[in-house]
């Protein structure tokens, strides 16, 4: 197995508060990984660092063992193949549902490529396929603003898939979903692993159990422990900082 993403002794503080403290994490290509931790454990900052939104004070972040992610901005990380889904569903509200997918599709991202872009039949077919997958085919012409919270979550997942990223960073995908939808999300993410690398940040233990994957527990910006869900749940430290509360 080759390492897709490597965080090596990363630290980052904001006004003296250490959001990330000597964090090291390696995720293999094609792996599905869940990251859990209480509020303030540094999960979001970790994602910001991976996607180039925030630069670490010290430590290295490596993509495919060769590319230094600390030198790259958000757009650059997306172009490398890192797709991010936000905790609060963020879709383009005034655009139609299908336009949201169309704008996420893998295609030229430059000013002039987009100015002269014409939608191909392959793209139209891919849009329909993705809309079907996230069950929004009937809503394709509605403005994304009209969707329910759960539907927006699905739309954003569709947008993420449209990018066809190598690595999916998924922040609390199940928030606002019904139990059945939550299970369907878990199933979808499991099916993506292998072909894609997937990192899921989650609070919902049922959901993490359904993902059935290796779990990393963060605490105060540091990796507390790593292993199967049963293994980490049995760890007394984890129980103390997180599960026991």
């Amino acid at each position: 197995m080759t390492v897709q993403l490597l965080l090596d002794g990363v630290s980052r503080s904001f006004d003296g508060y250490k959001a990330i403290n000597d964090l090291s994490l390696a995720v293999d290509k094609g792996e599905l990984r869940a990251v859990i931790g209480p509020n303030g454990a540094g999960k979001t900052t970790m994602m910001d660092i991976i996607t180039g939104k925030t630069r670490p004070d010290t430590g290295g972040v490596w993509w495919n063992q060769t590319v230094d992610l600390t030198r790259i901005d958000e757009a650059g990380s997306a172009r490398l193949g890192i797709g991010r889904k936000f905790q609060k569903p963020t879709v383009f509200e005034t655009h139609s549902v299908q336009e949201n997918i169309a704008l996420s599709l893998k295609a030229g991202r430059s000013v002039f490529a987009t100015l002269f872009h014409r939608r191909t039949e392959a793209e139209a077919a891919r849009i329909t396929e993705l809309l079907r997958l996230v069950r929004l085919e009937g809503d394709r012409h509605r403005p994304a603003a009209d969707l329910s919270h759960g539907q927006k979550q699905w739309l954003e997942i569709g947008m993420l898939l449209a990018q066809d990223p190598e690595l999916l960073l998924v922040d609390e995908p199940a928030a606002g979903m019904t139990d059945a939808e939550t299970m369907r999300t878990a199933e979808l993410l499991r099916s993506l692993a292998g072909k894609h690398t997937v990192i899921v940040v989650e609070h919902d233990m049922e959901f993490v159990r359904a993902l059935d994957c290796r779990v990393t527990v963060l605490h105060q910006g540091h990796v507390l422990t790593e292993g199967s869900l049963d293994h980490v749940s049995a760890n007394p430290e984890v129980i103390e900082v997180y599960l026991g509360r």
């Binding site: 991010r84 139209a124 394709r140």
Partner: protein
Amino acid sequence: MTTLIDRRMGIFLAGLFVLTVAIPVGNLAFEGKVVPSYIVSLLGKYLCYALLAVALDLVWGFCGILSLGHGAFFALGGYAMGMHLMREIGDRGVYANPNLPDFMVFLSWDELPWFWMGFGNFWFASLMVMLVPGALAFLFGWFAFRSRVTGVYLSIITQAMTYALQLAFFRNEMGFGGNNGLTDFKDVLGFPLQSDSTRAGLFVLTAVALAAGLLIARAITTSKLGMILVCIRDAESRTRFLGYRVEGFKLFIFVVSAMMAGVAGALYTPQVGIINPGEFSPANSIEVVIWVALGGRGTLVGAALGAILVALAKTLFTGWFPEFWLFALGGLFILVTLFLPTGVLGLIEGVAGSRGRRARRASAALEDGVTEEGAKA
């Protein structure tokens, strides 16, 4: 896919076409008895404002860049054309100096400054009309957008930009006629500016420029790039995470918009007969924002309509109660913000009824059905 000329654009262009034919004919064929000559220049001025409003709508309505300095690009375009018109005067000035404009003779300058070189050529001046505002917008946008200056901070620095230019152009040493600006123009390409036929010609040219500006803006905003501009307006950070370099898109639209504003200014100068530093005044730029808001932000046609309506109201109002115009303008802006979030255009289309809207939606669905079938095949 959206069409280039939708319903509202079609109606507006048709109206503009009727005006373009009727006004010059009404003026020239009846020797100013049906349409007085001053009306031709006045309407021509309104159309210049409309083009400026379309330019602002491109950046503000679609990309969320609230520029409070668009008057600067308009004025620069106006100055570039004014410089050519000054050179056209030749030795017919008060001092009859064949090489220098009057104000330079007055300042006892011996030779033409280097930045006036080439403006004797019409084509060179026409190029500068777009290049100078475009270059300023590029330089300004390059620094501002890369440093991720957004929102109210960006608005303030655009305001500062136009104010700084106003102060600079006031100075005689700048070589642009100082306080008085450029005026006393005689002719353009050999056509006397005072003649009715030249004025009618300029009016037609302005209408053509407005139509072209609207169509270019529409083509841009209906392209994929136009969709991304709206993404940037609504969720800038999300757009970055999709891999789009936001600063590049902002820079592109800002430069295009500045060039469009420059063209509007260039058409304005010969019709008004003067260009002076007052055109850089921050209040002018703010008024442009009011036109766009009043007409309907992000609709292009609405922006043009808003400019024409406010300019018309200003002409009438300043005739009746000159001292109350600014209160009326401010009041109008507040009313529109509170009660007409989609502007006058939204009001008109709302009144026009739901029948047309329903038909349009059905046809849009049909069109997509067709493309979908095509994709499956």
